[in-house]
Symmetry: C3
Subunit: 244 residues, 3 copies
């Protein structure tokens, strides 16, 4: 038996808004400790990991481990229909994930489970030379600033600043943020603007993003709930930069 009850749909909505723009199908694994998923996009550029602990839920029952394979778009369409004060209930029946919103009316959605083979991808273990915390809102702004002139973004960190920048045909953009951490190295990598935009849909997960960077290394972006009950993290492969 599987039953998970939440009095707020924001965490599910914000997570799957990002996840559904990265991967089409996903396997949610659930056991007595909570729910989690690991997924890799089709082009092997973005890896996403979501973890929602049993303690996050108002009620969480999972007698034996289950694998819930779903189409992320269909799930997101349903989650979007939750109202802010609706209770959310997730259960399983034969071949369906059942999502119930309880408010003035009781609204029930059955989403067909997908029949698929799924080997949960394992992210590469990386040693990033630099780790900093950046306000989530600042990252969103930077993306929109850069978007004026370019479709790629360079992220760099030195002892004082976190810098997002781009050179375009008609102009350059550069966003400098004083990170206030003790860092004695300099790193820089470039990424696809579009891919970062997908990750940044998860903006209600946390106000703070933890960023790990290296030189031409993948970016790790981690969002952690303040209560420690949930974590959403992304790994994004760097773009090659020509030396012109």
């Amino acid at each position: 038996m599987f039953k998970a009850e939440l009095n707020n749909s924001n965490i599910l909505k914000t997570s799957f808004d990002a996840i559904s723009s990265i991967v089409d199908e996903v396997q949610i694994q659930t056991d007595s400790e909570g729910m989690r998923l690991d997924a890799l996009d089709r082009s092997h550029i973005t890896f996403v990991h979501l973890e929602l602990k049993a303690s996050l839920f108002d009620e969480f029952i999972c007698d034996e481990p289950e694998k819930i394979n779903i189409d992320t778009d269909e799930f997101m369409k349903v989650l979007k229909r939750a109202k802010s004060n609706d209770r959310v209930l997730l259960t399983l029946d034969e071949g369906n994930l059942i999502v119930t919103f309880e408010g003035e009316a009781t609204r029930t959605f059955k989403i067909r489970l997908i029949d698929m083979e799924y080997d949960s991808p394992v992210p590469p273990q990386l040693e990033h030379p630099v780790k900093i915390e950046v306000p989530f809102a600042l990252l969103k702004d930077s993306i929109n600033d850069i978007d004026i002139f370019s479709d790629k973004i360079a992220l760099s960190v030195d002892s004082d600043n976190f810098v997002a920048s781009a050179d375009g045909e008609f102009g350059d953009a550069s966003i400098e943020y004083i990170h206030g951490e003790k860092i004695d190295t300099e790193v820089r990598s470039s990424f696809s603007l579009e891919k970062i935009r997908e990750m940044l849909k998860a903006d209600k997960f946390s106000d703070i993003a933890e960023i790990r960077l290296g030189n031409d290394l993948p970016l790790t972006l981690s969002l952690e709930m303040v209560t420690g009950d949930g974590k959403l993290s992304f790994l994004l492969a760097p773009r090659l930069e020509s030396d012109d």
Copy 2:
């Protein structure tokens, strides 16, 4: 002479927002008791009836009965330009409906009357086995919930619940609302989601919708102003359901 004055345009706006999406042309009949219209859409699926009593208006003068034939889109475009604190004045001159909004400036719109033969349609007299009241907002929500999986909607009522539901290829949706009325029969009919969406544009007419349902009978949806000064009602033909 015809002159109708209102200190608020909401009732006209919300009515014609729905009406203009159902029928292209309409005949408004007016006499000393007020204004009314009956119309049937081109495909003979939706019937609409509007009634605005003289008592609704701040001033209402109509010496002899008039028939005002107008293009509903043109009328709606004008009504949309009313501001919330504008007074609205309707009059007639040779061949035009004159709509005046009085606020900081005086804004006058003349809409050409249409030259058309019009036999006011008469709705079928139906005996519905079930009548219930449902919050208007709940109906709007249900339409958007169902829209995820299907383009038709089944409405059913039993002794306890009013249920809107649909089975789709990728999932099912079902909205249950405890109606709290004494009903000892069960009824069910299916309708086009799109056609119901048109009716539900009239959302500022009333917070409560009265619904009459039967088995594969047309749906009657009636909206009545709390003051009793106006009524907007729709009759919608059912969709045939195959027994699979």
Copy 3:
């Protein structure tokens, strides 16, 4: 050296929102007294003049006159990224206009200057028989009212009223505003609705528009900052009206 610093981006945004929809490229001229530009659209229908005095800026340094040739769309895209509480800093380096927004982060945009020959256009000197002040919001409303029936607008003034009007195929619209000024002549000219709409994007420049009109003469629309530190004015050629 050129450096101009503002603690608010609204004036720049609202001016260039209008200017960028009228002209693609522009030459901003700057000297110790401030910044100004004169431009004429490609079809020679709209002339625009902007003047921002040094006193408008928190800091304004301009040692020697400069000509800043820019693509108005690129400049506007950057200005749109300013937040309401960002400080704005404009400077020049070799071949770039540098726009810096200072807030939580420091965001820097370099916009490539354009290499162009530019003879600053000089507006015709006109003697308009009529000058009145009209609320800016009223002009915006009138445009949207007229838009229902026509793509041109007639503006007329008599001793009591300022009137915006249009005759269309499906109806007429007319907006009357009591101007409250002493005027003993009557004037009337017609204009392209689309061209007036472009000018009216400058809606945060001033709440009041000064209008100068004549019979089949160009319209002059002037917006002046209450502090007297800036002025934005437009000259718009009339449309020919046939006498049917």
